[in-house]
């Protein structure tokens, strides 16, 4: 396949699909101009949609989470190549998994969680499952239900975790945040911030009990089947987006960014290994 007849972009994330589609419109135009083929955008609500699309060769470009990338890589190493990653304003390219509990539960750290119920979000989520499920046992708290924690549950997603903790259905849970800004606001960005903005939870009723090591932002990936020149053109286009059209970069990154920098599979080896390790038990 030396010539492509169309270019298909998969968009991932929890935002309103049509907002996302609108945010990507500028990229759609630029890509169409650059490649000279029609461009289609797809924005399923579920991680699996984009992942399966990439695996089946039915998507050409997508921005994945780290764990989702690992899943794609593990299922079919010949499916995609990571090319770029978003750089935060502070120059890093990571975020954190945050453990939290209710203030009145008197749980101040994982030490107080013995026999209590702990909640993950979506099993495909890096911060909501993969990283905490590896990092927490490394700190000496077994993740097998009943061993240290009374029970370990999946709530289904970040929002559900937050609601479940503040309802008292589970004693503590994990979700993601950028770790910048104030706890009372739910940090500058992340699932807590959204829930607090929506008035669903009162951040002062919650407190942080755990924070993971920094998690790399997910990569922008390109299908390996694409012709080399298309790959080069697209990588170049997105890498130069911040300088060419800052508004467009802002839209796509959903916030202030320093732009996108090249990245390779090596950056995710740890995540892939972590995921592989999880497979074994």
């Amino acid at each position: 396949a030396d010539n492509i007849t169309e270019f298909r972009i998969g968009i991932l994330g929890g935002e309103n699909a049509s907002d996302r589609l609108r945010a990507y419109e500028c990229l759609e135009e630029k890509t169409a101009d650059l490649l000279g083929v029609p461009v289609k955008l797809f924005a399923p609500a579920d991680y699996n949609g984009v992942i399966e699309g990439l695996l089946g060769g039915n998507l050409d470009l997508a921005w994945l989470g780290a764990s989702s990338y690992a899943k794609v890589h593990l299922t079919d190493p010949e499916a995609v190549d990571p090319v770029l990653v978003k750089v935060n304003v502070d120059g890093g390219y990571g975020y954190y998994s945050i453990g939290f509990a209710r203030v009145d539960s008197e749980i101040n750290s994982l030490d107080d969680m013995k026999g209590k119920v702990f909640g993950f979000g979506d099993p495909n989520s890096t911060s909501g499952y993969l990283i905490p499920s590896i990092a927490i046992p490394q700190e000496g708290y077994s993740m097998k239900p009943g061993e240290y924690f009374g029970d370990v549950k999946f709530t289904g997603g970040h929002e559900q975790t937050i609601v479940a903790v503040s309802n008292g259905d589970i004693d503590a849970g994990v979700t993601w945040a950028d770790g910048l800004g104030e706890w009372e606001d739910g940090y500058n960005s992340g699932a807590l911030r959204k829930a607090s903005d929506a008035g669903l939870v009162d951040m002062t009723e919650l407190q942080q009990i755990w924070q993971s090591p920094v998690i790399p932002e997910g990569p922008i990936v390109l299908s390996k089947k694409l012709p080399v020149d298309v790959k080069i053109k697209m990588t170049g286009l997105i890498a130069s987006l911040n300088s060419m059209d800052p508004d467009c970069a802002y839209n796509i990154a959903a916030g202030e960014t320093k732009g996108f920098m090249p990245i390779t599979h090596e950056a995710y080896v740890n995540i892939v290994e972590a995921r592989k390790a999880k497979n074994k038990n």
């Binding site: 299922t75 099993p123 709530t155």
Partner: protein, 282 residues
Amino acid sequence: MAVAALEQEILSLRKRRQLYSLIGLLLVVAVLVSGYSKSNEMNSGGFLQGLSKFFDYPGEIVLEAWNAGPAFFGLIIQYVPAMLETLNIAGVATLIGGAMALVLAMASTRNVDSWGPLIPVVRRMMDIMRAFPELIVALFLIFVLGSSPVPAMIAVAFHTAGALGKLFSEVNENIDRKPIEGLSACGASWLQRIRYAVLPQVAPNYLSYFLLRLEINVRASAILGFVGAGGIGQELRRTIGWGQGAGDETAAIFVLLFLTIMLIDQVSSYLRGKLVGSGRAH
């Protein structure tokens, strides 16, 4: 006798009807052809290119299940409790929804002497109950009640009441009124007529709709597990979400789901046969 005129009329009537049928048929074909080509175009992949990949995903799962060897059966057993929870959700929801549907249906069919002014009101009520997607009601209730099987149960029961209510009232519409009249003539009250003249007639159909609904609800409850309502759906979400590495578990859950549905199907046809009875040979 103007047979000739009648013949003309009939011929033209038939011609018109044939024309309508032809138009209808063409319309359906046109909708299908244009619909499929349009959606094929809108899809990120194409139908023809994709055919060869049809078995990729199931293949992956089956392969993993195969590699798991005898441990696979252990997995199936491991998921039985979750399956039972889902069955319980569906069972309770179908029972409660079915009971509500029974009341709604009896209140909304002229054929069983429901109270006239109530009929349109109850019908619209059922329409609305049916129109709410279970998923949405469940999500809403999860926000209020927290993650547990109960929101899913309520959501499914609510929908079931509307859906079964409509089907039940359709059954009521087709019953034979003779037994009702027979009982009226004995001085039976409305409830007694429903109990002895209507219920025995509708019971087999009700039962088969009820069991079909139970089966639909098992699947619906599994789906609702996806949004945190517990049961097998939650496990399914985890294994599907995890993907490669959990394929054997996904397969195990599917085998279990399939077995359950097959079981309900068999029970359904057995009970139906039992209830309908032999009757008098024609």
